[in-house]
């Protein structure tokens, strides 16, 4: 499985990578993007099964990224997980219609991320 992490914080990307590598989920490659534009570019040139995306990013934010993915049939099999500091009801409702499998609120414990990853990996394999 190939994973893409879109987050403008390099430390957060590193943490997510570290947790992913600590799980038993077989991962072929972990790609990183600093914003939605980079994420779209990497998705176009790589066969990615699972996307973790932040919401607040400079340039193209996570909501716009998810909107573009939802409007393009190429990504219908991509499993999408939001990892964001924004846990508001308003934000959750905004992305609810954008094929998001899970919304994980920062801060999170590594165990929660592991469980989300395991679930998302199952979905990505189906």
């Amino acid at each position: 499985m190939r994973i893409l992490i879109a987050d403008d914080s390099s430390m957060m990307r590193a943490l997510i990578k570290r947790v992913v590598r600590l799980t038993n989920v077989p991962v072929e490659e972990i790609l990183e993007a600093r914003d939605g534009v980079e994420a779209l570019s990497l998705l176009s040139s790589n066969d990615v099964q699972l996307l973790f995306t932040d919401i607040n990013m400079p340039g193209m934010n996570g909501t716009e990224l998810l909107r573009r993915l939802a409007n393009d049939d190429r990504w219908r099999r991509l499993t999408r997980v939001v990892i964001s500091t924004d846990g508001s009801t308003a934000r959750r409702e905004e992305v609810a219609e954008l094929s998001v499998r899970c919304y994980l609120k920062k801060p999170f414990s590594p165990e929660v991320l592991r469980d989300v990853l395991t679930d998302a990996a199952e979905a990505a394999r189906l």
Binding site: D8, S9, S10, M11, M12, A14, L15, R18, N56, P58, N61, S84, T85, D86, G87, S88, T89, A90, R91, E94, K105, K106, P107, F108, S109
Partner: protein
Amino acid sequence: MSLPMPPKPLDFEAADKLIVAAVGTVAERSFFSFVDPNSDPVLDDDKEWLVATLRFDDGRISGRLACSVRSDLAQMLFDSFSGRHPSGPLPPSHELDDLIGEFSNMVCGTWLSRCAGDRLFQLSRPVVEHQTRPAADERHRHWVEVNHRPLIIDWEVERGPDKGVRRSSQ
């Protein structure tokens, strides 16, 4: 067809009470650190401070939040988050800045989700500066201790027709 409900006015007093709890949630959950909310101001040392400032805006209300973190605490938070051993090589400055920016981002996001969860705020990317003193005193200031080291949270609403419920003392 019914129109969506407008967001409730921001209750400044309630928001002010929630900010320290937000720091506690972030520090404990992602940085394995403990917060003492009843800290006295401590400025009598020559340590550097990292001041992370970010703006929030939902189109009607805008403001800013600043986290001032003393450098020894910044290092401690970095180690907790990254797994770096304290005796290992020091992290580059840009990684420390990124981490303190992310800390402030999490505090602001957690806080706004709790005090104004029906609003869609955009948060700016945190700007981190190294200073000899914490941020200049803002309208709302809280001193706390994280792992027995000082951290200061300042927040202020700067603009918006929807100024919400004001504190009775103002």
